[in-house]
Amino acid sequence: MARFHPAEDVLLDYAAGALHVGARLVVSTHLASCEVCRATTNLADAVGGALLDDLRPSSLSADALALALARIERPAPPSAPSFKGPHDWIRVPDEVANAYRSRRRWAAPGVWVAPVTSNSDGSRSYLLRVGAGMSVPLHTHTGDEMVLVLKGGYSDGGRLHHPGDFALNDASINHNPRVLADGECVCLIAADDTLVPLSWVGRLFQPLVRI
């Protein structure tokens, strides 16, 4: 059961279809395991339905219905094979599981990344695996970054983030998240900007310093 959730304005953007594809994926992964937020997006979907219902109808081309009736006679294409994420993750969409299966790259000792989506507007999403106890030096963000824990956990500003927990980091945040000491942490991350290549993202992490 997640303790940290997307704010309502993020859920509204999700339901309205206004999030970029990577952010959308992060929010939908959170929703898959969060009943509370699902109730909100169900409400927001119903708002969308009500607004659709109230729109003034546009005229269609004369043969529109005939075309539709012809199209429904065609066989549906076979649905794409679906993959599941590892059993010790929270449930993830196919797209995320596919990235895990086929696009993991070690970026630094203890750290791998797997790009999931990239968009022409510069936004992207990726999986990030970080070894137990590793941390990132104090930093901030140029754009918005959404983080969802899929496995393990990290601490950030005294708060512990566990599987299903959502975080939105922006330029107002200065933090140095640290992976919990008891095991690896895998997160799904969506970021607005592409200033830093993914391979560098991995190198930002420092191993646990034992004194």
């Binding site: 206004a18 699902r38 169900n42 409400l43 708002v47 969308g48 219902d53 539709a68």
Partner: protein, 214 residues
């Protein structure tokens, strides 16, 4: 510039609920009865592959989905293609519709929205993708299956009674294809104000749905 967009947005979003002056042969009975008919049609498609039921759904929703796409900036021919694709998806996935959990309009809205997102995605990156309407939709929360139609009609009433400033940001989110942060800039309203209007609007809508239930 911003002011112009603001006025334009406010006008195009139509804070007053537009009357259905349809040139089509569709009659428009009161909301709830129409909603019940539409839900029943989707069930008939699911159970019997009923083509007459499909025709009714098509006549009612395809022109509205086209309008929705045009509101979001699609050219009329693209908007009509998307309306066609939406209706095809309604036919193929009718079994996944649960009339106890969502109104027909809600279900069709989510299909249309997903197809639009998919199109934008294909335009921005030429990569073959599996049908994104197969993207797993989050399942409905179990305790929300009260009475979808009753909910929908109450929701409409609540929407029409929202204070204009709240209605404006809500409608802008659905019809401007931009995150609320951008909407705030376009409307010339501070982001914090937009966020709080969204919160207030959601609180009112929730309240509208929770009263009279028990």
């Amino acid at each position: 510039m911003n002011a112009t967009i603001g006025i334009e947005l406010a006008r195009s979003l139509g804070l007053s609920r537009g009357r259905r002056t349809s040139g089509m042969t569709v009659s428009t009975p009161p909301d709830k009865a129409a909603g019940a008919t539409m839900s029943a049609c989707i069930v008939r498609i699911a159970d019997h592959g009923d083509r007459d039921a499909f025709g009714q759904i098509f006549n009612y929703f395809a022109p509205r989905v086209k309008s929705y796409m045009m509101r979001l900036g699609a050219e009329p021919n693209i908007a009509e293609d998307l309306a066609q694709d939406t209706m095809l998806t309604v036919w193929r996935r009718a079994q996944s519709f649960d009339p106890g959990k969502a109104a027909a309009s809600t279900w069709i809205f989510t299909i249309a929205r997903n197809l639009r997102i998919d199109l934008a995605r294909r335009d921005s990156k030429p990569s073959p993708k599996p049908d994104p309407s197969d993207m797993p939709e989050a399942p409905m929360a179990p305790d929300d299956a009260i009475d979808a139609l009753e909910d929908q009609s109450r929701l409409k009433t609540a929407l029409s009674r929202l204070p204009p400033d709240q209605a404006e940001v809500i409608r802008a989110a659905y019809f401007s294809d931009k995150p609320h942060a951008q909407v705030a800039i376009d409307l010339g309203i501070p982001l914090g104000t937009v966020k709080s209007r969204i919160r207030l609007a959601f609180a009112r809508l929730r309240e509208a749905l929770s009263t009279e239930v028990d």
